[in-house]
Amino acid sequence: MKLPALNNKSERPAELNRREFFKSGAAVASVTLAPGVTLMAFGGEASANADPGKRWGMLIDVNKCSTDCNACVTACSEENGWKLDGNPETDPQWIRKIDLKHKETGREASLPMMCQHCEEPPCVDVCPTGASFKRVDGIVLVDKHICIGCRYCMMACPFKARSFVHEAVEDQKSNAPRGKGTVESCTLCVHRVDKGGTPACVESCSATGNGAMMFGDLNDPNSEIAQALKNYPSMGLRDDLRVNPGIRYTNL
């Protein structure tokens, strides 16, 4: 179903149909209970802010990514309120660093891995309730209101980009609601992007001076990222699956 493109409240039509009313109901109730806190759970409201003309993506230069640098992971953790608690098997990891060593040549590399925001996301295909969804601007999210915690999306994701919330969470960030028993993953910092900003990981990578991560609109031919993709070779992970990830890698 195409979600209504509502950019702000003044554009909201006078009469919502019943389905839309109920879909927005939880968010409205949450706001009333906690004024000043936007407890959007990436349902209708987060979708409403998406611009169908854009496709947000990232280009990661593996040569510029340092093995001992973890700035992107730390920044994401602080921005979105998830943390590693010493239980690597069950702790959430929205973004992680992967170290690579080629089996034949011995070449070593390091890169950040997160939700690849696929154009054809397998997690969205398999989600029974539609909680796993893709915005019109290409950002793949989980609607925490209708995720039933079946974990089928985690089975389907080719990149192991999703985590299941195994226990109660505390000190949540208002921009990244989380809930025990639901699945979560990188949101591409949708709350920043919708305000014209860039994801926290990209910002922190720039701050380190490495500048390995570039964020932008893949659909805008004049954007820095589109120009870089046009002029230099790059690849998406598991390109054989033709899911067309929004995250591209170069020098891998």
Partner: protein, 403 residues
């Protein structure tokens, strides 16, 4: 041939004892669910690598066996084998009971079981899970109708046959859907194979019939009713053929994978690495669940005893669990191959064989599903005229000698 007389089972002390034991297991499962829901899945052995664990092995076994348990009724109504007819009601009841037990485990393992209503009302039709919700619910309706037309008075045999055919087609669709949960997972080397759907169908034939024979073989003596050795022998022969068919489909699945270089590492992991999954495959699935029962049932089929058929059924059920454990857990234990030709390391277990040890809560939940199925079947035979008074060979087929 006498007219088949169906009677409710009188609850004897033995049946009461079974009911109490089953209720205790169901109660333990309920407590386990409450505990998991309170603390989160952190108290289970499941993690971000092995996201589906032992409860899913139990749930999928029961769901697969449910459609297979309908075999006996289908053979009677759809394929006109009159000698199976007296068992058709029980076959239908057992299939409903097994499905209910399996689904209970599946939904109670959800991260948010309280949102079951969402799963029932919000569908994403590109998801085979969503289709399965419809297929599972529809199965209850279709098999329920099938039971009704069998048991109601003055229903034309043509109607029974039509409804039976609908149930048969539905159960094929249901098992196709269950197999496709794995067959359509494109990213994992252990899945992503079209053969999963037919493999699950033949698994359902085998596990479901084994379960049916086991329950029939124990219920009848418990209720003081007689079951003829030739009938059991005949069911056993069919079970032997199904066991061989499961072995065949399994061989094709692995041979196809072995031929593709990209799947070689996964096949090595399952078939040769010596891990728990290798042992489960060769000892559990192939030997205990396949070769031994097939030999027992087919080698001297004429001389097979009731006890041997029941023992072979038990072996097939054990092998079936091993088979599903290998598919479900083994398929996740093997790491995703995101970077072919690279050794990978990370804080998120990339490139590692993932470990999994189920906790007592998962065992309790899984066993509770089996107990729930037993309870439903038990209540069914006590409350309804499901079980025939006599399944002696002569009563079923007058050409058979009586014992």
């Amino acid at each position: 041939m006498d007219r088949t007389v169906y009677r409710e089972v009188k609850p004897t002390p033995a049946i009461w004892l079974m009911a109490v034991i089953a209720a205790a297991f169901v109660g333990a499962a309920g407590l386990a669910v409450l505990y998991i829901e309170h603390h989160g899945h952190i108290v289970t052995g499941m993690n971000n690598q092995i996201v589906w664990g032992l409860p899913h092995v139990f749930a999928i076994f029961l769901i697969v066996a449910a459609s297979g348990a309908l075999n006996v009724a289908s053979i009677a109504s759809v394929f006109g084998k009159i000698e199976n007819k007296p068992m058709a009601r029980y076959s239908g009841l057992l299939s409903i009971a097994l499905l209910a037990g399996g689904l209970a485990v599946l939904v109670l393992d959800l991260g948010r079981p309280d949102r079951l209503i969402v799963a029932m009302t919000t569908y994403n039709f590109t998801s085979i899970f969503a289709w399965n919700v419809i297929l599972y619910n529809g199965f209850f309706a279709v098999v329920g109708a099938y039971l009704f037309v069998q048991m109601a008075r003055n229903i034309s045999p043509k109607v029974v046959r039509s409804v039976g055919t609908a149930a048969f087609v539905w159960r094929l669709a249901l098992t196709t859907g269950t197999g496709s949960i794995f067959g359509w997972l494109v990213a994992r080397p252990g899945y992503d194979a079209a053969i999963m759907a037919p493999l699950f169908i033949i698994m359902s034939f085998s596990f479901g019939l084994a379960f049916f024979i086991l329950v029939l073989g124990t219920t009848f003596p418990m209720t003081g009713r007689y079951i003829g050795p030739n009938l059991v022998k005949r069911l056993g022969r069919l079970l032997g053929v199904f066991a061989v068919a499961v072995l065949y489909f399994t061989a094709i699945r692995h041979l196809t994978n072995l031929y593709a270089a990209e799947h070689a590492d996964f096949e090595y992991f399952i078939l040769f690495s010596g891990s728990i999954y290798t042992k489960l495959f060769w000892i559990g699935q192939v030997l205990i669940g396949g070769v031994i029962p097939a030999a027992m049932l087919l080698r001297h089929a004429e001389n097979t005893t009731k006890g041997q058929v029941i023992l072979a059924s038990v072996l097939i059920i054990i092998g079936g669990f091993a088979h599903l454990y290998g598919i479900i857990i083994g398929g996740q234990a093997f790491p995703l191959e995101i970077f072919p030709m690279y050794e990978v390391t990370s804080t998120f277990a990339d490139g590692q064989i993932n470990g999994y040890t189920p906790t007592i809560y998962e065992w309790a939940l899984g066993m509770g599903g089996v107990a729930l199925a037993v309870m439903i079947a038990g209540m069914g035979v006590v409350a309804l005229r499901i079980l025939p008074m006599n399944l002696s060979d002569r009563n079923i087929d007058p050409t058979e000698p009586d014992f």
